[in-house]
Symmetry: C2
Subunit: 343 residues, 2 copies
Amino acid sequence: MTVDHKPSALAYPSKNAPVPSATQYLGLVADKLAQTEELFRRNLESDVPFIQRSGEYIFAGGGKRIRPAMLLLCARLLGRDSDEEVTYGAVVELIHNATLIHDDIIDHSTLRRGRETVNQRWGNGLTVLLGDWLYTTSMRMAIEHGNIEVIRVLCDGVLRMTEGELLALQRLAKIDLSVDEYLEITQRKTAQLFAAACSIPAVMQPQRKELFEPLSRYGRSLGICFQLVDDLLDFTGRESELGKPVLSDLKEGRLTLPLILLLPRVDADARALIQQVLDDRGFDRVAPEQILELVEAQGTVDEAYALAVEYADQARQALDALPGGDAREALEFAPDFVLDRRS
Amino acid sequence: MTVDHKPSALAYPSKNAPVPSATQYLGLVADKLAQTEELFRRNLESDVPFIQRSGEYIFAGGGKRIRPAMLLLCARLLGRDSDEEVTYGAVVELIHNATLIHDDIIDHSTLRRGRETVNQRWGNGLTVLLGDWLYTTSMRMAIEHGNIEVIRVLCDGVLRMTEGELLALQRLAKIDLSVDEYLEITQRKTAQLFAAACSIPAVMQPQRKELFEPLSRYGRSLGICFQLVDDLLDFTGRESELGKPVLSDLKEGRLTLPLILLLPRVDADARALIQQVLDDRGFDRVAPEQILELVEAQGTVDEAYALAVEYADQARQALDALPGGDAREALEFAPDFVLDRRS
């Protein structure tokens, strides 16, 4: 069903360049990442039994820890070597986890990373409060080093992120979502916290303030790239790798780029199939394979991937203004790593 | 049905001392309160249409603004006269409102202050995100004056408050809730934010740090008094005054002091009535009047009120360590005002 000798839309190829392994680009900050992980774990401890129990559950659920990794690499790029960046690494991961558990309430999600979501396990009420506790704990941790500018960057990041989620929720299950709206939502919802993570090291050192803008830009572009790939995995990934069913975005009413690009090009019958999934919030009358065949025929996964590659290039370009060295090489690798991930 | 010449349990008398009017005790900070109100309103503005709309709705819903009032009086007591306390006044009111709208999700509340709750009007998803946005906006505002210590007090207050709500939710609809557990929950859930509001002025001036403890203690005692009276209004108030149905706490599974005191003293039939309301989450098989008659017969509203009076006295005692003047007189009046409120 592939056309024009395009590679299969549903298994876009790795880039030609050799793709770095996680070890290659994270090795530089492996020790700091381990410290961040330990601090993250310790800050989920509480004398309130439910917080302790659900904190252990969240910690055991793991995650890619990409935000702290980027923050630590950017700190190294600027020659930092202190506890401070470890704290902020744990802070951005806490914020990210707070977002996830509130998002899972909103999306009525039952599975994340192959395990029951917190809301599925303990109910919406406790989960709302746990998210509030995590957000506030992250701020409580972040003030420890007395740097108000960092708190400002974090608060602004969380505000833009929350606004992105609000916009996304209001446009949920709307078949006329435009590419611009999708990118605006992605920019706020995902890219802002990446931008905050990458630019915080510049704020930690007032004398390096001129690096705030390029680091923000790097984080923002990488964040959009990350989200584009994340959305593609819903089409190309396998349930066993993702820990959640394929096409779960569409099922939950979230139109992503491959379908947004596809909709204006297909006939009314094809559009009706997608509308039916949105209406039913599930594959009751339409099989996932029918949607995947449409996407494959139009090659829009490839197009979305090409856009992700563009954002990866933008991220690398932002690095031009930054000091050289091993950390910069790792930051140059990071976009390829993001482009290549399979889960 | 009243016994022992006790006054009716369901209409405890005003105290013998003349009760100050709101004007009397708030007049001193009326200008600052108006500024706080304006700042609160302005910080609910947003270029995201939903935030703008729901922000206007929240603002129009009003509220007693007791937390900012106490903060402003304590600031005056310490001789402060600046924009800074106005900011923190708006901050604590924003935090309070964030709590309310998340609580209304958890309690499935449909009415607050006589109007639809935010979750009833716009759904749980948007309301979760709006609460997150309000919490983060409050922190974003609070850092404007560059005082990390204030942020610490605020974060600690919000953490204890959230923990109190988590504990309360886990003990929801449990008929064996003890007086100690009830007071522990009240202390965390309500009193901590009062304590933060009252003690922040001491943190604003490092040279007045010795006043942090007594101001905290004042706020904490006043907060418990406030919550006890709030819980009593569910028995003694009228729907038209409260904007929500009488006995709505019990209906939503929240046992409060009059019933906690009553339960060990009544027979199995009476306990079964209360258990039925908890089981049904409503007055399907039991009439509210049956519960009110039990409470009246045992006089436990009076007992709970007497405990509120004790906490009011404790609050006043905490003022002994503080400077005299008009603000202190107003702070001495405040507990009576709290004890006397009818809605």
